[in-house]
Each structure stands twice: as structure tokens, then as C-alpha cells.
């Protein structure tokens, strides 16, 4: 009787442990007009607020506009800092709708590439130039502003508008946006999460927060069997052995690239990897 009552609870608990459930749930909740219009509140993911269904604001779009008005985006920065300090890049792995799109794109059979290591630093340049410097010094009416070429905006905002109006020539008129989207989607097929790794400005900000975020991943050198199964499952190509050297075998999320998808903890057959939220809760495979 007791186990019968616990069964649905266990089922829900097991569902909530699945990353895809969170990703699909977030996609729906971030774009569910039934929830109303809350675009004065920033969601810490790249989800275009110009989408006809978007519920929350995109921090990059808002910050770009405020900076172009020479208004310091205190509220946006505060929101992002709270999210980043508590959860780090977990939103990239579990919440971001464009991350979900890229996860599926990479399942398309094709030759697969591993991006060179230096490309991961590009996203900091994108954050600095196209979200801060260009809006401040030049303004928003040029293609160097991030939103002008944002693939999420094209996918979530422009595409539904074009489909609704039937004005397919809009893709030609906005050829730069269209081309940017096509290239990013193609790169998403051949290189796992290539946009997150190289261009996403939110990813860049949260990557900096990964250094002190509440959620963190821990590597235990003593129990690691060096099987490298964790490397095989990592969508962000985090080199755990390299992190071991850098962080002295203590904390993996000293890597700014880790999106805490926990693929590595699932692949790990020893207790070499575990996660924790500060020291309050934690998990991982137990021996």
C-alpha cells in the first residue's frame, strides 16, 4: 500500500531528474502566453522577448537597449548575478531553449568536429563588443549589435512573423540575420553546442560566475579510474584531466565551460564525480 502511494511520487521524481524534461518544460514556460506578459522580468537565458509568445525579457536585448540610452542596467546585472552566483551555467544545460535546439541538431548524422580551444574565448569578445561597446558608442541601428544578428531572435521572432504574414522575401531582405542563423545551425550539427561555446554572451557572463556558483561539480582524484567515459559524454568538451591539474583535483566547475548537464556523473561508474549545491545538497554515483 505504502509503495503504491509512493509510486507516482517516485515517477515524478524520476522525470524531474531528466534534463530533457526540464529543457522542454522551460521552452514551454518561457513561451506560454497564458502566463501573461512579464517582460519587465529577465529570464537568464537567450529567449527573444520579441517572440509573440515570450513571457519574460531577454537580458541581452534589455541590457543592449539600456546601455545605448547610457543607462546602467543595474536591475538586469543584479538579476544575472544572482542567477549566476546561485546556479552558474546550469541554465545553459537545463533551461535554455536554444541549447535544446542545439542538442537535437547534433544528433543529425554528419562528420563531427571538436572546436579548437581558443574559440571558447570569442564569446567574451561578443559580450564586450556587441552588447556593451557597440550599443554605448554607436547605437543599436547597426549589424554589430548582438540582437541584429541573434539566431534566437531570428528563430523565435522573425520566423513566426514571416510564417504568419507569408512574406518570405523578408528572409532575403534580412539576409545577414538569415545567413547568421543558417551558419549557426549548420555549426550546431557538426560541433556540439558550438554557439554556446563560442558566441553566446549570456554563456560568457555565466561562465565567469561558474567560478563561484552554488551549484558545482566535484572531481575526486582518489576514486577516478581514468576510464574517460566522462569526456565522451561532455557536450562542452570539458577536459576533466586538465581541470584536475588546474584545480588540484578538487572542483571541476573551476572550468567556465561546464554547463552542469551531469552527463559525466551519469557516465561515471565510480564515485569520481559528484555535484553539490554549496554544501547543502549533493549527489552522484555512490560506491
Amino acid at each position: 500500500m505504502k509503495s503504491g502511494l509512493l509510486r507516482p511520487v517516485r515517477l515524478v521524481f524520476n522525470l524531474l531528474r531528466r534534463r530533457r524534461v526540464w529543457q522542454w518544460g522551460s521552452l514551454v514556460l518561457l513561451n506560454l502566453p497564458l502566463l501573461g506578459l512579464w517582460t519587465q522580468v529577465c529570464a537568464p537565458v537567450l529567449n527573444c522577448h520579441s517572440c509573440p509568445w515570450a513571457v519574460f525579457a531577454c537580458p541581452i536585448g534589455v541590457a543592449g537597449h539600456l546601455i545605448s540610452w547610457h543607462v546602467f542596467p543595474l536591475y538586469v546585472l543584479g538579476t544575472m548575478l544572482v542567477w549566476g552566483a546561485l546556479f552558474g551555467r546550469i541554465v545553459c544545460g537545463w533551461v535554455c531553449p536554444f541549447g535544446l535546439v542545439q542538442d537535437y541538431l547534433h544528433k543529425i548524422p554528419s562528420p563531427k568536429w571538436r572546436l579548437p580551444r581558443w574559440t571558447r574565448y570569442l564569446k567574451y569578445g561578443v559580450l564586450l563588443t556587441s552588447v556593451i561597446l557597440v550599443p554605448f558608442f554607436i547605437g543599436l541601428s547597426n549589424r554589430a549589435f548582438f540582437c541584429s544578428l541573434c539566431p534566437v531572435g531570428t528563430l523565435e521572432s522573425m520566423l513566426p512573423a514571416v510564417v504568419a504574414s507569408g512574406d518570405w522575401a523578408a528572409f532575403l531582405r534580412s539576409w545577414a540575420r538569415t545567413l547568421a542563423l543558417i551558419l549557426i545551425l549548420l555549426f550546431g550539427v557538426v560541433a556540439m553546442r558550438s554557439f554556446c561555446k563560442t558566441l553566446c554572451p549570456i554563456g560568457a557572463f555565466l561562465a565567469l560566475c561558474n567560478r563561484f556558483s552554488g551549484y558545482s561539480l566535484h572531481y575526486n582524484q582518489d576514486t577516478c579510474s581514468s576510464c574517460e567515459l566522462c569526456l565522451a559524454g561532455c557536450p562542452m568538451d570539458v577536459d576533466i584531466a586538465e581541470m584536475e591539474n588546474k584545480a588540484g583535483g578538487v572542483t571541476l566547475t573551476a572550468s567556465s565551460e561546464c554547463i552542469l548537464c551531469l552527463n559525466c556523473t551519469r557516465n561515471c561508474h565510480t564515485s569520481g564525480l559528484s555535484w553539490s549545491f554549496w554544501t547543502l545538497v549533493g549527489g552522484g554515483r555512490k560506491r
Binding site: 529577465c42 522577448h49 520579441s50 537597449h65 545605448s68 547610457h70 543584479g78 544575472m80 546561485l86 554544501t279
Partner: protein, 85 residues
């Protein structure tokens, strides 16, 4: 680990402090873009409302005076704005 937790707590508090401070900020948003020596009406607009304006270019910055100028009727009930880009 202790350093990390301390830094994480400090950053969370800093972020929360920034959100709290933003709730007290307000910006003068003018009805029209007039020269600086001419009288122009303005409203004090909260940062939350300016954030909302940031989702659809509801404000423009005057190139001559540097003032924030509204692009829509602020007395009308808010509705879903069109894409600015």
C-alpha cells in the same frame, strides 16, 4: 571550497543589493525631443518600466540633449509591443 562558498554568497548578496537599489531608481523620460532650453514635460519612470521599454525600444536617447524621450503613449494600457529589430 570555503572560499568558493564565501565568494558565492557575497556575489548573491551583491546581486540582490543591485536589484534592491534598482527598485529605488527612476529616470526622467520626456514626452518630446525639444532643445535643452525649451520647456518639456517628463515623467519619472522606474527602472522596471525602463526594462520593459528596453524590450521594444520604448525610449530613445536624444542625440542633441542626451535626454530619454518616449516613443509611445505612456498613459495607454500596456500591450505586447512589436519587434524593434
Amino acid at each position: 571550497m570555503r572560499k568558493r562558498i564565501l565568494l558565492g554568497c557575497l556575489m548573491t548578496l551583491l546581486g540582490a543589493g543591485m536589484i534592491a537599489a534598482s527598485s529605488t531608481r527612476a529616470f526622467p523620460v520626456y514626452d518630446e525631443d525639444l532643445p535643452e532650453d525649451e520647456f518639456a514635460f517628463y515623467q519619472e519612470v522606474s527602472e522596471i518600466r525602463v526594462t520593459w521599454d528596453g524590450t521594444f525600444a520604448g525610449v530613445l536617447r536624444s542625440s542633441s540633449t542626451g535626454r530619454l524621450v518616449t516613443t509611445y503613449d505612456r498613459d495607454a494600457p500596456p500591450e505586447r509591443p512589436a519587434c524593434p529589430t
